[in-house]
């Protein structure tokens, strides 16, 4: 089937199209340069046309999500809607059920979401959830930052075996890249401890977080994975963590990017940077370190980041940084959940109420916006809320409206919607930069796709997947600075969302349950090394894992319809 989206105003930053009136054509599942006269014409005159959104970091499927849903029925009761002719009933706000997650991303005009943390032992669970989340493609990043084998390899500086192990694990878990969360810290949590800073060693393993990060970054480039290492540094959420953040990023600055990774520029992606940009010694004297961190980003092109913008909602925090979640429990006393995974990782979960009237929440909110506004190159920064940690993903349009309107930000500060710490402890009130629609298109689709090395989405290039979003906003008439409410409304519900050439949203209504696809990286050429490494670890695995090796991998049964990205040696 052929279609022409006619007379839309197109923002396609990858192809340097910034607000031009032109037609976008697609045939079946692909974008094409030209179509025949039989093509169906869809009139989108003066409406925004963009590639479908790409979320570079969200928690949407997996064991810790389900713990959240199990123990927070109060959250599931928010956002309940009945089934329609096309879609299943919805439930949930910060931790929506799987079908709900898919539908809501479709309404935002998104087509791809990266699940940011997959414990290898429970990877089957993550894939079970991915398979029933409709309308979006979901690659998942397995966790390596506290993996016992990786810590041993890093200690011995045995990069060859580590590379083979990582390559094997990507196949075993059907994973997309290397995720590192609080390296060595979550292992220390096995004994109720944490590490502080990059030079602190994990108990027993005698390896520092810095050594582990460098080893994994080198391995990532040895294998030539499409994405770089994806890191959540130590000391998340602790006042005074700026030095740790900068040391983490600086540790890998001299590592050379693999020539096989042609799409991305960076060797490290630092996720939810907002949580890592605090100065001070305690929450009493905490302040924003955003300017310092942004200065580092502006002067270094080996790194990219996403923000993890606080949206001032009641949400559910969940991360593999389990000791941090226990710290939150000690502060808030809300119901605390934890999930340690043998030999691999840990996870913690706790509800969190970010409120504009609270000083700390406001500080976090302001730091996120400061990062967006201080970082000069939008290709280095992505729009996330670290869903659901800083807020649910359905708030992305609201964040866009804040970024596009200095007036709105000042209004919030002036009329007391946020605490006075916003102007007392941050530079937010002094920043009048406003994002334009092209910047928004970069941070919400083009940059995330480039950072993750996707060669088939995030742009309207002929041959790419026909993943397209059309928003009912006329960029020539709207003044985002003043009409921020219209901006939020317009981006909240796409007029059309097209996934693989199929209309999943039509006239602002989700009309389809399209089967989602998992994207995983298949590294070729390490078969012999992988076999050796698996033989090496087998005695350990048999003795100290609670499942048999045969039952460890994700069988094909769980990924019925994958997109496999082959990486040649």
């Amino acid at each position: 089937m052929e279609y022409i989206l006619k007379n839309g105003i197109v923002y396609d930053p990858t192809n340097k199209v910034a607000g031009e009136k032109k037609d976008v054509m697609f045939k079946d599942a692909k974008i094409v340069e030209d179509v025949s006269s039989d093509a169906k014409v869809i009139d989108v005159t003066d409406k925004i046309v963009m590639p479908a959104g790409v979320d570079p970091h969200a928690h949407v499927a997996g064991p810790k999500l389900v713990v959240g849903r199990l123990y927070r029925p109060e959250d599931s009761r928010r956002g309940v809607t009945a089934k329609t002719k096309y879609i299943r009933g919805e439930a949930g706000f910060s931790i929506p059920s799987c079908p709900t997650t898919g539908y809501r991303y479709s309404r935002l005009g998104y087509g791809t979401v990266v699940e940011a943390a997959m414990p290898p032992l429970e990877a089957k669970h993550t894939h079970e959830e991915i398979s029933i989340t409709p309308n979006i493609d979901i690659p998942a990043l397995p966790l390596f930052g506290n993996n016992w084998f990786c810590m041993e390899y890093a200690k011995e500086n045995n990069l060859e075996d580590m590379a083979a192990y990582v390559s094997a694990m990507l196949k075993i878990t059907k994973g997309y890249g290397i995720k590192i969360v609080n390296p060595c810290g979550s292992e220390a949590w096995g004994w109720g401890m944490n590490v502080h800073g990059v030079n602190d060693k994990a108990p027993y393993f005698d390896v520092t977080s810095k050594e582990l990060i460098i080893a994994l970054a080198k391995v990532n480039e040895m294998l030539g994975l499409p994405h770089s290492i994806h890191i959540h540094p130590n000391d998340l959420g602790h006042p005074g963590n700026v030095p740790t953040t900068l040391e983490t990023l600086d540790a890998v600055k001299n590592i050379k990017k693999s020539s096989k990774a042609t799409i991305r520029d960076q060797v490290v992606h630092c996720t939810h940077l907002q949580f890592h940009s605090y100065t001070g010694n305690s929450w009493k004297d905490a302040a924003s370190g955003a300017e310092e961190v942004a200065k580092y980003v502006n002067s270094h092109d080996h790194m990219t980041c996403d923000v993890g913008q606080v949206t001032l909602d009641e949400t559910t925090t969940m991360t593999a940084d389990a000791p941090m979640e226990y710290d939150l429990f000690k502060i808030s006393g809300l119901k605390w959940a934890n999930k340690d995974i043998e030999c691999e990782t840990a996870a913690g979960i706790i509800p969190c109420i970010y409120s504009g009237s609270a000083p700390v929440s406001t500080l976090q909110w302001a730091i996120g916006l400061e990062l967006f506004l201080h970082i000069d190159n939008p290709w280095q920064v992505c729009l996330t809320t670290d869903h659901p940690n800083a807020g649910p993903f359905i708030r992305y349009p609201r964040i866009m409206s804040w970024l596009m309107s200095s007036k709105r930000r000042m209004e919030m500060i002036d009329n007391g919607e946020v605490h006075k710490w916003a102007h007392k402890r941050t530079t937010l009130a002094t920043l009048d930069r406003e994002y334009d629609f092209n910047d928004i298109a970069i941070i919400s689709r083009a940059a995330p796709a480039k950072i993750h090395g996707f060669a088939d989405r995030g742009a309207l290039t002929p041959g790419y997947r026909a993943d397209i979003a059309v928003y009912d906003i006329n960029p020539n008439e709207i003044d985002p600075s003043v009409q921020y409410e219209e901006i939020e409304k317009g981006f909240s519900n796409a007029l059309y969302t097209i996934k693989d050439g199929q209309f999943v949203v039509k006239d602002k209504e989700v009309v389809m349950n399209k089967e989602s696809q998992n994207i995983w990286v298949n590294v070729k050429g390490y078969e012999r090394e992988e076999e050796k490494v698996i033989n090496d670890i087998m005695p350990f695995f048999t003795q100290y894992y609670s499942v048999k090796w045969e039952n460890y991998p994700v069988h094909d049964h769980y990924v019925s319809n994958p997109i496999v990205v082959d990486v040649e040696r």
Binding site: V80, A82, L121, K335, K548
Partner: protein, 458 residues
Amino acid sequence: MTYEPPITDYDHIVENCTCAFCGCNCDDLDYLVKDGHVVAVRHACRLGASKIMEDMDQRLLVPMIRDEDGELKEVDWDTALDTAAEYIANSIRPVFYGWSETSTECMKEGVELGEYIGAVLDNQATICHGPSLQAVQNAGYPIQTLGEVQNRADMCVYSGSNAMNSHPRHMARYAVFCRGYFRQRGRFDRTVVTMDPKFSDTAKMSDKWIGFEQNGDYGFYNAIRAVLKGKELYQDVISGIPKEDIYELAEEMKNAEFGVLFFGLGLTHTLGKQRNIDIAIKMVQDLNKFSKWGLTPMRGHFNVNGFNIFMAFHTGFAFGVDFCRGYARYMMGETNTIDLLVRKEPDCFMVIAADPGAHFPNGANQHLADIPVIQIDIHWGPSTELADVVLPGSFIAVECGGTSYRMDGVPIWMKKAIDKPETCRDDEWIVRELKERVMKLREEPNVLDAYEVNPNIL
């Protein structure tokens, strides 16, 4: 126990099979197969082995329908499925109960059927660990995988759980006797405490038995929490335990490097119910200020946790999910099977891989006798006597593959080892057939024409 010579007469071995009995889901079993039957099982406990080997004992082999005289009569599959589908399609308040002894693949068909027709889906949690789930919703859920216990734990506490009888390999394979990476001497490196009014077989294996009095659970844990917070105990004896013992135990728990609390129905079903678990969870949370502690509910059926997990990611709620209004609803005491049955609400009941006839209270079973009951199971049981349609399923993890979730949430693919009896069908197939037949018989009720945003997320 008499000596049984090892089985030598078999055709082949199927290795690394998963046990479909308790929540331990041991995945290291070897089945010895002869003539298409499992004649011996290696590595399994007696409970698991007997379930797997005696698979033909009182086996339901053919579909049956209850006739006018009240007798179950053999029919062909089409007739049985059509009759069952008619019962479901013509009902206004169907309940689909069970699911804990089948795969998540089968549940997927079940939830689709339930959402379509507007049924209530519920599992055995409603009569076993339901209070634990309520407590988790009140207080939190600090858990860990069983391998974490094996490798790190130096203190294991069993409360209201007689693991030696109910989960025989739990202590051996995962928690107490096994060698762990940081516990190389296995049992000798660990302190085992049993908290139970009864001097159970688990208590016999323990270093310490805390025999608090019946229904004394809450008071006892409350006292430990008070001690952990540095408070003084004013009573000399609390819940039947001298206060000196409580001080000593609290000190020991604080000094453990990695402690785990396993709790069973002894805690969930005594006087305080979910409050007992509440306070146990809070005690574990308090203990984390001193060292590392976690807990794990000792789930009974092999996939009872699986249903809760499955429903949570499909609908947002763990069990007792009511679709009658076209969206998922969950309210303890309202949308749970027993409450519905004693209120005589359901007009059709499908039981899959469960035995309400044996386990439900009398009042609930009385209503079951009055309404159409569809049973999908592999063995005859009291529920068969209540059933109007009997659909013989197949034995997951032996005769057909499927996914289950262990008590600690680790998913396991349970593979197929032998063929099922020719006249039986897989649970997944049966439920899919019912779904398709019901869809033909009745148009979907309660469907909105267009999506309406719920204002509470704006």
